[in-house]
Symmetry: C2
Subunit: 433 residues, 2 copies
């Protein structure tokens, strides 16, 4: 796309804009006078338009030079849309089943035009809040994470190419934002922190003096800054998936950069667990959501187990094919190497143990920050009764803190699930058996 | 410097070349007819000229588009000289006492013109082989490493700037070389491997089936690829220092990139230990080198302890000053934060424990590769008697392997030293008490 200089779109201006893109116009069909646009952005940061024509629809996402929910007083580089476009393209190459297609990407306008995920696609978080189960969810998310995270790692990519990729995908401003709001602000009296008050005042204040929690958060921050393991999504919560009963699609990788794999896996598990802890705030005697909660925990289990086994399977296949990844060289770990198969199995166990500990640590950090940091989740924050909300949040906060601090001490995913169930059974109301 | 296109220098061509650089000509003094040049490169990779005039001297280092010791059949990017120049400049800013000044740096000619380290400056490895002690060595090396590695880390640099620095200092070709020759080739029958044969045939072959060694080497390779902790020298052996009784100078950072701190610290300790294990090959009843060996082990101890304490002191001072490093934020770990001082002390202990384990692992890997890989060290390889040489090398190989595999099991530097002494006492000759 060649265009002039940047201007902000709106529901009117977006029509001639897409009319100027022949490939997009062809998807919409008919003539511009038959098209309609609607702004639907519900995120905090950007503007998203659905444009529909007689033949089909597209989504137009534009990044303005500031944070949408705050306004011009919080400037943010429009480069973020470049990182998002490149990540969508890279990840779709690795998993076209679960990533929408980018039709056009316009650097000057800070715009991505992409595949429209039409209803009944809904943001997963909203589906979960409504108590909807998605039978494909766990399998699809596990496959997506295994394919994209393995496929962009130096296990799969020659290290020379990998190093160039790392350098190109630096996403400084977005990473700085993450560092601040996830790893630092929740652990002191930062300006934008908030929590359900006065119910959680003591719990929030306790964090400021919790040396173990600060140490864990700071160590995870070091990993976030230093561990360039794969091209991660960087914000893979339940608001970054759109789902139906038959489809699971990842959106919104504007925080993508080369970072620790556990950051993505942990984000997803954390948000499933936040939903789990929120359920008592939405349930009642008539609808206890007990089955739904059990299903949510099965997703936690199946996502981890599925991710783990598919990641390892992709890795084994890669080594068997002789490369080209440079970590764990086939010359040492391949079938032809002396003891190669046993060495590979041992290597995979140790590597996945590292991903596991990172996953739990980041999951915990992400739970904590959604209770006491700047940006919360609707699952919990929209619980109408403040006392009920605070009880649910308090459980999630305590569990998240313990997950983060104790990340090296969990025996496996069933142990995590058992401890989540125990954390919910704290003797307080609401609690629906 | 603006110059035409690249041409290779020689002892004649280097004179009009430096004459074209007014700042350099001024250092030399007099007129070009009074200057003399000599090629002194003893490394494997580049060409180094000393140019002297009536007033002073300079060193001109040029990178040709291939590896010097192999020739045009092994091409190597000339970009390496850019990484070297930028690292020399960055590290000299942080420690002008131990890094020579760059006078000019000419990208097109792939040339650095730098401060001449005049005699009695000698390459440290050669000094050690001659049995010369350097009273300032341990203190200077510790200070250099603490200042440059702390100073370029995200402990000291705001993470946004740090991320840009990481992206800019990608040194792909040199890193690929390291990955291959240190972490992969020694562990299978790679083309360029060699060792003292037949004496070490069995020991070399054993490595190819040593699952624990392969795993350790592969895990260290992952750290080398993924852990962007600080701007490291990347090749900090005893051939990368020039010393006198009063001066310790670091040269040759052409492998510099953002990598694990332990890679540099380990390189230095490994090469001191290789020298230690070589001593029995150079000693005799008349000169047992016992005192010298003890001094070498004191350097190992003092470098680690000095590095550790100065690194931590710089870190504490930085936090006390309120930043600007983004890891371990002053808001959580500073004196004003609740429990900040205790949290900082705990954080430093854990961080340095990580650096320690990396240091031992990389030190071990570097010892192994110098016995059975492509590039050896003169301390051992020049021992004239092949049987004596093989005994010394065999001890170093075994110790290096155990250091690498057991890197998480050493109690401290005194434990490392005690085990090095024990590894030397294997009941074989030569052994000079
Ligand atoms: N490809 C798409 N198809 C349909 N709806 C979309 C699509 N992408 C985004 N949306 C809608 O727009 C909202 C905001 O998009 P998102 O990419 O998450 O923006 P932000 O970066 O502001 O969070 C989503 O929650 C979803 O409702
Ligand atoms: N600044 C200097 N002053 C004096 N001699 C130097 C200087 N730099 C390099 N040399 C000499 O040149 C040799 C090769 O330099 P080095 O930078 O190590 O090149 P290479 O990259 O080929 O190993 C050194 O071993 C040393 O003898
Ligand atoms: Mg979003
Ligand atoms: Mg977003
Ligand atoms: Mg050299
Ligand atoms: Mg890294
Ligand atoms: Mg060199």
């Amino acid at each position: 796309v060649v265009s002039g200089s940047f201007y902000p779109l709106d529901e009117t201006a977006v029509l001639p804009y897409v009319a100027s893109l022949p490939a997009v116009a062809a998807i919409l069909g008919g003539s511009p006078s038959e098209w309609a646009a609607k702004e639907v952005g519900d995120g905090n940061i950007n503007f998203v338009y659905i444009v529909e024509g007689p033949k089909g629809g597209v989504v137009v996402k534009q990044a303005l030079p500031f944070v949408r929910c705050v306004g011009e007083s919080w400037p943010l580089t429009q480069d973020r849309i470049k990182g998002e476009a490149e990540a969508l393209i890279a990840h779709r190459k690795l998993d076209p089943d679960h990533v929408p297609e980018v039709y056009e990407w316009d650097e000057k306008m800070a715009v991505i035009v992409m595949q429209y995920l039409a209803p009944p696609h809904i943001i997963l978080r909203r589906g979960l809040m409504a108590g909807t189960r998605y039978p494909r969810l766990a399998g699809d998310v596990a496959a997506l994470m295994a394919r994209t995270l393995f496929g962009t790692s130096a296990l799969a990519v020659p290290s020379a190419e990998f190093r160039e990729n790392v350098g190109r995908a630096v996403n400084t401003a977005m990473c700085s934002l993450t560092e601040q709001v996830i790893f630092t602000d929740p652990y002191f009296k930062a300006e934008h922190n908030h929590h359900t008050s006065p119910q959680l005042d003591a719990a929030a204040a306790a964090l400021y003096e919790d040396t173990e929690a600060k140490l864990a958060a700071a160590e995870l921050k070091v990993l976030f800054i230093e561990k360039t393991q794969a091209l991660i999504h960087g914000d893979l919560h339940t608001g970054s998936f759109m789902c139906t009963q038959d489809s699971t699609q990842m959106i919104d990788p504007e925080f993508a950069y080369y970072g620790p794999i556990g950051f993505d896996v942990g984000a997803f598990l954390a948000n499933m667990l936040l939903s789990f802890f929120s359920m008592d705030g939405w349930a009642g005697e008539a609808d206890t959501r007990a089955d739904f909660r059990a299903w949510e925990l099965s997703v936690v289990r199946d996502v981890w187990e599925g991710f783990r086994s598919q990641f390892v399977a992709l890795w084994s296949a890669r080594v068997a094919a002789g490369g080209p990844g440079d970590e764990y060289a086939p010359a040492l770990f391949g079938g032809e190497a002396a003891g190669g198969a046993a060495a590979l199995a041992a290597a995979q166990d140790r590597y996945m143990q590292g991903v596991w500990e990172d996953t739990l640590g980041f999951a915990g950090a992400k739970m904590v920050r959604r209770i006491v940091g700047i940006a919360h989740v609707a699952d919990l924050d929209e619980i109408p009764d403040a006392d009920a909300r605070a009880v649910c949040q308090g459980r999630a906060l305590k569990f998240g803190r313990d997950l983060m601090v104790g990340r090296r001490g969990f025996k496996g995913i069933d142990d995590v699930i058992a401890r989540a169930e125990a954390a919910r059974s704290d003797g307080n109301k609401p609690f629906f058996a």
